[in-house]
Symmetry: none
Subunit: 233 residues, 4 copies
DNA sequence: GATGAATGAGGGTTCATTCAT
DNA sequence: AATGAATGAACCCTCATTCAT
């Protein structure tokens, strides 16, 4: 019995769920203000959105600040008013995005009746999110294993928490007797993330009819994960 | 009964199997000559090796030609004598590396008695290769899904062939009744590549005792793949 | 009766008449702005002036951007902020310079009472301009017949208009009965430009006392042109 | 009465008259040999021909040694065996070409019955030569007034001799009473060269039917020169 | 808060020239 | 005589970042 994924969705906000404003406080020059004006906030959000689309299209290194501010329709100066560097912009995107994922995973973990339900819901949510925001997905894969990337501790921590949440459910499943005991939960968590990410992007890249493809895709991921992990009936 | 993977290995040479020289002829300015001197060939190989290590450490964009030639111990000019651009160097690495993988996969496909044997051998070989040459693996993951990458048709073709070889064995397995019929072979092939790549790099990154870790790792990949695909007994 | 050339001179400004700023708007990255700040405009002009002097001294190919910005006393970056390339800088000079010549020629054409007056005034003005700004003259000759030059359509168009203005007066002269009817006006226009350019530069190169030399020189050009074209009395 | 130009033509040889080998001795490494082998000579000639065509097409600065040796079908090493530098190659072309012109002019000067005959013959020959070898003509114009050009004394000397030969005939014409006494012979010589060069190239550039255009063209040059210089009847 | 002109280090690439073979 | 691999100085251009206004 699968927990309906939709219910786990937090109120729409943030990068990956298409929010329009507010949320994580950066460490930028504006952070000291108790309440940012909505104008400033809108500018910040515009910059993040523009940055995400530019980075998704060309990769982090090839994305230039010029291009980002042009896409955002603001001047170059503001970018450096709201963020301390180009890396700061990019990391904000990643941290916010993964943060949302973590929040959702935590909700799922807390509410799902069984480990199996939780795992399937997590994988499905993950895949859906990437499917609907491939810009973020593309950036995520590229950075996750990019050699020499220099994101902060915060970023590393976020990655670890995301993996830990999956790993925890796998271990819970082993205790519940629904996940094969010989499985290495840490290994499996990485495998899941890698697989979801790569297959999703592959599918999107195919240029199929997305609406139709998505449900088939989620079905496949679910099936794959199920068989890979489930104790034989 | 598993076909011993080792026997499929072609004579050690080339990028990913640690060759020392010779092999694929590039399309560089020098390519028209019938037989490059071994000296020139050595220089070319030095450049490729140096480039691979630099790119693996810092990523393609951050890798500078200056750094590559310094590592190779040659002048900047030769790099452009042997290759037409920085991208050409990088692509040569990728194409040669994937080319070797393809060759090995083809051998496996031709010799393995069953689809299951072939699949396991392929995945095992793939994982082993990445495990032993993480520089190549790192470059491969980074480029495979990098947004806006501009490798040539040749590169695209190589990727497709690699996936096709896996897909073919999955389909063969379905015909042989050992791979679940509801599986989408194309989807599965992508999932396998993504999973092997990401988990391998994760493992290497952990900094464990590699020698020991490797056999456990290969075991896990094999187990995962088996359960995900095999028809329940 | 010769129309006094001086009266045709438009208000002194621009490249060839020694202006200090403003005027033609380039098609550079900054061009979309409604009104550049005078500071930015000054920088742009400094770059053009510096470029002209460097190019005049060493030729386009030998002129380096480094040298130009050094001469202009600005950083390398601004050069590319105001212009899209080295070629763009050079072409701006040419286009602005020829543009001024065209404007003057048009004024002369409109005001001169006879074709003969117009022709003499044009040639005299042309020679004077080159005489006083040999940097521009040198660049002009070099580029006008340089093989493989790749200036834009705008540049080609300007050349054509300049020649057309001369040609029109020659034809007018033929109608007025003061220019020999057997003359090919198009051919003659080219001959005039080539001759003025080459002889002027030759004279300047001689290093004579310029002030004195100039009037003798203009006299000779005028005499030469007169005899070459005039209907015998 | 015009001296038939054709008779002044020296036996076909050299750059501009389409010779096949031999002639001016360079200061290259081969110069000490009393008699170059015909093989070496052929190579040298191939290089000069290739260089001329490349330079004519792209200009001196844009012409690369690589391109020249490729066009000549020889290796890069030989180029530096036969010539000391790229500039040496280019200058050899210029010096040989102008040298032939000088020789022809001297013949004309010695044989023409009157200054008028000589002048017309010279201009006609000059125009014909450029007309038939526009590669040389293009190179000549480009270099003659190129700022910062650094050809040797030999080159300067050749230019001076060419001008001097024209100037001498103009002065002879003044003594003979056929050239207007008020003309400055030195000035006029420069004007003639500049005009012939520029109009010829203009004509060639037009892409007209060359065969037909040429005679009309020569006629115009002759007419122009005649009227510009001749004492009114 | 916001602008856009300015900076300058450094990147990829070209090319005349040299030299071992 | 000839080859072609190798050198390295320079060149054009990019771009993250700063700062006066």
């Amino acid at each position: 019995m699968i927990v309906p994924v939709r219910e786990f969705r937090p109120g729409a906000k943030g990068i990956i769920f298409g929010s329009t404003h507010e949320q994580t406080r950066g460490r930028s020059g504006v952070a000291r203000q108790k309440a940012r004006t909505s104008k400033a906030d809108a500018t910040r959000r515009q910059l993040l959105d523009a940055a995400l689309s530019v980075i998704a299209a060309h990769g982090y290194s090839e994305a230039t600040v010029d291009r980002i501010v042009e896409e955002a329709g603001v001047s170059k100066g503001v970018a450096y008013y709201h963020f301390s560097s180009k890396a700061d912009i990019a990391e904000s995107i990643l941290v916010e995005g993964i943060g949302e994922l973590i929040t959702s995973f935590e909700t799922i973990a807390a509410e799902a009746p069984t480990a199996t339900d939780a795992l399937i819901a997590m994988v499905e949510l993950f895949a859906s999110v990437i499917f609907e925001n491939d810009a973020f997905g593309r950036f995520f894969v590229a950075e996750l294993w990019r050699p020499g990337r220099a994101w902060s501790e915060a970023m590393r921590g976020h990655e670890q928490r995301l993996l830990a949440l999956l790993q925890a459910q796998l271990e819970r499943g082993q205790r519940e007797g629904t996940v094969r005991p010989e499985i290495d939960a840490a290994f499996e968590a990485v495998a899941l993330v890698g697989m979801v990410l790569t297959t999703t992007l592959y599918y999107i890249g195919e240029g199929d009819d997305l609406a139709e493809a998505r449900s088939r895709f989620v079905e496949r991921i679910r099936d794959f994960v199920h068989h890979a992990n489930a104790v034989a009936p």
